[in-house]
């Protein structure tokens, strides 16, 4: 399937005319790198908003009787916090953001397959995000990010707005997925076979079909919920013959793959950061790539493990439990391979590397509690409790978000040509690490003892640990403030990075930072895996990238 050589006059030989003017360059840009940065900025804005919501949650829980906000407001706050973090922060950051920014460079393409579609995907995203936050004006959804009917049928008008917003962001995801699949299948540089692709591309390649297929299932479920709420057409209301459990099936058929959408690209980031800063090839390249695909595929077959308490027939539950255990094996392979990558390395503790190391430790913990939850008898105990809250935050914050931060410190020079400040970065890491663990480790214990999730008030016996968590969460928020300060400061005053500050060996580091709008002057030819530090770089045709010469092919009108 790979393009054997650059055909004269083909896509690889074709450069779009240089975008002129501020609007075409930075607003309605067709350039995948600019779109990636747009995604990252927008997602971090939403991250700040829903992070504030998280602090509202923790402030409310300082006292067993709450009192900071009313129960109703509290329910709105955690619902929007969850929805926004999943759909407006983690997924766009990892797919639209880092995906757009990095993987076309890594496979040696000039852009993604459909730049217009890419721009459209991006512009849908802030619109839907604003819609989601605007639902506060009309009574935000209260039933959590899962919005189980029938209670979501009773929700305020904002719940319909929520449906529409998530539907739209799903459309954006689907288009991104289609775009990425085609790009990876068709636009790799000559010699960039699948077994020579950097692992971040493998992560995206495993994620894109999930975006494309699973998100559509969610769209159907959301459309039905919207129609039922607005027009009274019965799908989920049991008094009219509908089935509330059906929503759970359709929702989790999307949302379990969505968990992998949120973690597989982060795996990819870690698999890039570790070899670069250990000066060592990634250990077990093929097995890591293969296990990503295995996880993505198996991700479609385990959705009902979120529904062990929903009254499914027992014989249906059993395969879901065992398949979920089985997913632990490829995940374990990855973790062991990353750990083994460190062995015998020359490890440089940059902030990106610290986040990558933190990722491995915390994600492993989240993965282990995931195995706990797959075991039905134990799940029947802790389902719907703070144990789940702890588990999902270990995976999504300790996993995905740590991956995002590693990616930010790693690729920030590629975006801006400047380095993030390492001292501030290390403060960010350590405070975040402490704050995060302080916030979420006690939740395991609280959940087992009997604290249900999504509560505005709780039994006074849990007060001590809740206060502890709240204080720790303020520490975490402070560390993230440091990160924002760091970004805003470094973007103007950071040390100039040059094209390749980390000694990275993948293709994106062989061209200037930030890259030209056409990426490569010549599309390079690839001769091997990027990760072998003892060998010269396995690329040909990159000699002129860092010179001032113009690109080999003239920019032509289409």
């Amino acid at each position: 399937m790979s393009v054997a050589a650059v055909h004269p006059g083909g896509i690889a030989d074709h450069i779009h005319p240089e975008p002129q003017g501020f609007v075409r360059r930075y607003v309605f840009s067709l350039d995948h790198k600019i779109i990636g940065i747009q995604y990252i900025i927008t997602a971090f804005v939403f991250f700040m908003l829903s992070g504030l919501l998280a602090e509202v949650i923790r402030t409310q829980l300082l006292n067993p009787n709450g009192g900071f906000v009313s129960s109703d407001t509290y329910n709105e706050v955690y619902s929007v916090h969850g929805s926004a973090m999943v759909w407006l922060v983690i997924i766009p950051l990892l797919t639209g953001g880092f995906g757009n920014l990095v993987f076309p460079l890594q496979i040696g393409a000039r852009d993604v397959a459909f730049p217009w579609l890419n721009m459209l995907s991006f512009w849908i995203f802030p619109v839907s995000g604003l819609m989601l936050f605007a639902s506060f004006l009309m009574g935000a959804p209260t039933a959590g990010w899962m919005e189980y009917p029938p209670v979501s049928l009773q929700g305020a008008a904002g719940t319909s707005m929520w449906c529409a917003a998530i539907f739209l962001v799903g459309v954006s995801s689907t288009m991104t997925g289609i775009n990425f699949v085609v790009t990876i299948l068709k636009m790799r540089a000559p010699g960039m076979t699948f077994t020579r692709m950097p692992l971040f591309c493998w992560g995206q390649f495993a994620t894109a079909p999930l975006l494309m297929i699973a998100t559509t299932a969610l769209a159907a479920a959301l459309a039905a919920l919207f129609i039922e709420r607005e027009f009274g057409v019965p799908f989920y209301d049991p008094t009219k013959g509908g089935s509330p459990v059906m929503w759970q099936h359709m929702f989790w058929f999307y949302s379990h793959p969505a968990v992998y959408i949120m973690i597989l690209p982060a795996f990819g980031i870690i698999s890039e950061v570790l070899p670069t800063f250990s000066r060592k090839p990634i250990f077990g390249y093929k097995l890591i790539a293969f296990s990503s695909m295995a996880i993505a595929l198996a991700g479609f077959m385990v959705w009902a493990h979120h529904m062990f308490t929903s009254g499914l027939a027992p014989f249906l539950q059993l395969p879901f439990m065992i398949l979920t255990f089985v997913i632990g094996v490829p995940t374990g392979i990855k973790i062991f391979s990353w750990t083994a990558t460190l062995f015998g390395g020359k490890i440089h503790f940059s902030t990106a590397m610290l986040f990558a190391l933190g990722f491995i430790g915390l994600f492993t913990l989240g993965g282990i509690t995931g195995i706990f939850l797959a075991a039905i008898p134990f799940d029947l105990h802790v389902h719907g409790t703070y144990f789940i809250v702890a588990h999902l935050h270990y995976v999504l914050v300790g996993g995905s978000l740590m991956g995002v931060f590693a990616g930010m410190y790693y690729w920030f020079p590629k975006m801006s040509g400047r380095l993030l400040n390492e001292t501030l970065g290390k403060w960010h890491f350590w405070l975040f690490f402490l704050g995060f663990n302080g916030t979420f480790i006690p939740m395991h214990w609280l959940g087992m003892l009997g604290m249900p999730r999504e509560v505005a008030t709780y039994d006074p016996q849990f007060a001590f640990w809740n206060r502890f968590e709240s204080v720790a969460s303020y520490l975490m928020a402070f560390s993230i403030l440091l990160f924002f300060v760091n970004v805003l400061w470094s973007i103007r005053n950071g040390k100039r990075s040059g094209p390749n500050p980390w000694g990275g060996r993948t293709l994106e580091w062989q061209i200037p930072s930030p890259p030209h709008y056409y990426n490569f002057k010549h599309i390079p030819t690839v001769y091997g895996l990027p990760y072998d530090f003892a060998q010269p770089l396995p690329y040909k045709g990159l000699d002129e990238e860092l010179t001032d010469s113009p690109p080999a092919v003239a920019a032509g009108a289409h």
Partner: protein, 204 residues
């Protein structure tokens, strides 16, 4: 210029850029159809799920759907699939007139199917008082799924009409006609979805 252009302009205008771009578009379009297929599958899952959780189908108080009419109407849609196929075949071989005739026939048959569906809806809503929101899960699943499919057919008819206009304006040549290929793929997709919907609503 249309017919003459088509006949004489063999593959001379097809360059490498077009070949590669077409490949991308084709794959992208097929992936779009796959995700659209998942959308239908989800609603079909919902329908079958609700149907099996109730007591018998159709629910009491609702008559069985009119199979003979639906069979006839389905054949109209399937026939339009066949004419679309021949439209593309004829275009590929440079028979411009036959291409136009088959394309117009497809549009007429597609519109005919929509009219038939409109008739069926009218009959259900006014004759049997089966409505979208007021007839429980039957009305919900039937009108949602067939309505969604009808919307796809409607979009298809619009798209084919645009194809007619574009073809008359000479947009497509013997080498560059991806728009027609995409239209044919889409139309076949819509037909095949109806095979499934016809089976699950009328036959089982």
């Amino acid at each position: 210029m249309t017919a003459a252009t088509l006949a004489h302009d063999a593959h001379g205008d097809v360059d490498q850029l077009y070949i590669e771009t077409r490949e991308l578009r084709l794959q992208g379009f097929l992936l779009f159809l796959i995700s659209d297929c998942v959308l239908f599958s989800s609603f079909i899952f919902a329908y079958l799920y609700m149907r099996n959780s109730g007591q018998g189908w159709p629910p009491p108080g609702i008559h069985r759907l009119d199979v003979p009419f639906a069979a006839w109407n389905s054949v109209v849609l399937f026939g339009s699939g066949a004419t679309m196929h021949y439209a593309l075949e004829n275009f590929k071989h440079g028979h411009w007139m036959r291409y136009m005739i088959f394309l117009l026939a497809t549009i007429v048959l597609g519109a005919g199917f929509l009219a038939g569906q409109g008739y069926e809806y009218t009959h259900l809503i006014y004759g049997e008082h089966v409505t979208w929101a007021g007839s429980g899960i039957f009305g919900a699943s039937f009108f949602t799924l067939t309505g969604m499919h009808g919307l796809h057919v409607f979009i298809g008819v619009c798209y084919l009409t645009v194809l007619v206009l574009q073809s008359s304006a000479g947009v497509y040549t013997r080498g560059k006609y991806f728009g027609i290929t995409a239209g044919t793929l889409y139309w076949h997709f819509v037909d095949v979805i109806w095979v499934v919907l016809f089976s699950i609503f009328y036959l089982i």
